[in-house]
């Protein structure tokens, strides 16, 4: 049974993810703007956007049903719940007792399912094709993600995120070569799950290039704020998973103020570095044709398959 201090720290970790996630989006947008020789908006711009959207009225089509109105809330609650299982600066989360990494993926799938329903619900043509693309992508991404997680769970003995992070904190990539393959696969999957560039372009509003944005085209006001915020949280959760599973150096393993502070600062440094490198990668590549995207996902699957082979060596 976790102590009261641990529970407080666990809640602080989850709130940290929720509060910090728009900043990550800002950092990525700023990096992309700088690589395109633009000044770019401030890194805090996503916060201003969210505040402005919350104050605005939202317009809802009279043809839409309750699915359209409730799906932003389901999205936010599902992804916000997933944030409680992610260790950030303490190597275990006290809520890890009730759910493991499979639950986190399940919550993501729930959020995605309701976003797809909402895209279909208003029967706009863009929502429809956005949903069908998203269905295709998620159908291909999920087996890849599960294979990758199998590699990690086999290596560290268990699918509990806290257990994985504790085990990986005193291990290294060099000791487990299968994790390099898992890391490659995970990186590709994260680009796909967050709709980053070889998969979809999240920053334009050109309808043909977007996957996720096409489904939420009808939202405005508070609902749009919730949707954008929850996709920012999802992105930060995935980034912190990749960091805390593969490079968890400096994460605090016990409750003490200096260790927690260094853990927090190191985490912010590492996640910003990862976000900046993803943004650089995005400005280097062009968007792939939709039917070539399975090539990328096949690479992720093949990579994690070799990871499994290396584990049983």
């Amino acid at each position: 049974m976790p102590s009261l201090v641990e529970i407080v720290i666990g809640i602080v970790q989850a709130l940290f993810i929720i509060a910090f996630s728009p900043l990550m989006v800002g950092i990525m947008n700023k990096t992309k703007a700088r690589t395109q020789k633009r000044i770019g908006s401030s890194v805090f711009q996503p916060y201003y956007d969210l505040m402005k959207l919350v104050r605005k009225d939202s317009v809802v089509s009279d043809q839409s049903s309750w699915i359209f109105r409730s799906s932003p809330w389901i999205n936010f609650v599902a992804i916000g719940t997933a944030a409680f299982f992610i260790p950030i600066f303490l190597s275990y989360s006290p809520f890890g007792l009730v759910g493991d990494i499979l639950l986190v993926i399940g919550l993501f799938a729930l959020a995605r399912f309701f976003t797809m329903l909402a895209g279909l619900d208003v029967s706009s043509s863009f929502g429809g094709f956005g949903s069908s693309r998203e269905m295709m992508m998620s159908m291909l991404l999920e087996p890849a993600l599960f294979l990758t997680i199998f590699v990690v769970s086999l290596t560290y003995g268990g699918s509990n995120i806290s257990g994985i992070v504790i085990a990986s904190a005193d291990s290294s990539l060099i000791l487990h070569p299968q994790l390099i393959f898992a890391l490659i696969a995970m990186f590709v999957i994260i680009l796909g799950e967050t709709g980053r560039l070889p998969f979809g372009n999240s920053s334009t509003h050109l309808e043909l290039t977007m996957i996720h944005e096409a489904m939420v085209l009808e939202y405005s006001g508070k609902s749009l704020a919730l949707i954008e915020w929850s996709s920012a949280i999802k992105q930060l959760i995935l980034l912190s998973l990749i960091i805390n599973i593969f490079v968890p150096w400096g994460i605090s393993s016990s409750v003490s103020i200096p260790l927690l502070t260094t853990g927090l600062l190191l985490f912010i440094a590492k996640v910003s570095l990862l976000a900046v490198s993803i943004a650089f990668l995005e400005s280097r590549v062009a968007r792939w044709r939709l039917f070539r995207l399975p090539d990328l996902i096949a690479m992720a699957i093949a990579s994690s398959m070799i990871g499994v082979v290396f584990f049983y060596l």
């Binding site: 000791l175 070569p177 390099i180 090539d295 096949a298 690479m299 990579s303 082979v309």
Partner: protein, 222 residues
């Protein structure tokens, strides 16, 4: 602090070599896979130097240096120079027999197969053999698959080069370094082989107006 021994570094380098090989398999364009082949050769040279360090024979260091110079600098340069006049549509593999995504998965299965095969052979417990032998056989199988799969004769050269790298690793692993004169002979052989195959490619492209090996069996009446 985590202590790493040479055994773990060897397994790690083997993993990196496999990743570099997959980098070649996934490329369609000629210049793309040539770049990936360059990376693979650099990794191979590093592995050769590592084996030389473990065994302690100075001749293998020379072989590592030769690998670095010949395979990562000279062979790509020669290939680029010889094919500079070929048209661009000959250089990109647009329509392989098995699609790219399936070939990546098949290559992963080939890696698993080579591990399965080498575990049937009883070896004395030698870390070099047990680490690199399956990888060299995997390289061999992947190279064969690439040759069978690609239509363009120019892009079949890449399979040849992967097989050659696999064979180099195979010899090095099993013999722990053959004498230097044989290594030199092999390297000279590769260079001549590349030059001959590029001349052959030029002749094919001039005669058939295509590098598609599927069209070679068509009869012509001139």
């Amino acid at each position: 602090m985590i202590i790493m021994d040479t055994n773990q570094i060897m397994i790690f380098s083997g993993a990196i070599l496999l990743i570099a090989t997959f980098g070649i398999v996934t490329r369609r364009g000629f210049a793309d896979w040539l770049g990936a082949y360059r990376y693979q050769s650099i990794v191979l040279a590093a592995i050769t130097a590592l084996i030389a360090y473990v065994i302690g024979v100075w001749e293998i260091y020379v072989a590592a240096g030769l690998t670095l110079v010949i395979k990562s600098i000279i062979i790509p340069k020669v290939l680029l120079y010889v094919t500079r006049n070929l048209e661009i549509e000959f250089k990109v593999e647009t329509n392989p027999y098995v699609s790219l995504r399936a070939s990546v998965i098949i290559s992963a299965f080939l890696v698993a197969l080579s591990y399965f095969l080498t575990q049937q052979i009883p070896f004395k417990s030698d870390p070099i053999v047990s680490t690199y032998l399956p990888i060299s056989i995997a390289l061999f199988l992947i190279g064969l698959f690439v040759i069978v799969n690609r239509r363009s004769a120019l892009n079949q050269v890449v399979g040849l080069l992967i097989i050659e790298n696999g064979l180099f690793l195979f010899t090095l692993t099993l013999t722990h370094g053959v004498s230097l004169i044989i290594e030199m002979g092999i390297f000279a052989d590769i260079l001549v082989g590349i030059v001959i195959s590029s001349i052959l490619l030029l002749r094919i492209s001039r005669t058939f107006d295509s590098l598609d090996v599927g069209k070679l069996q068509n009869l012509r009446d001139d």
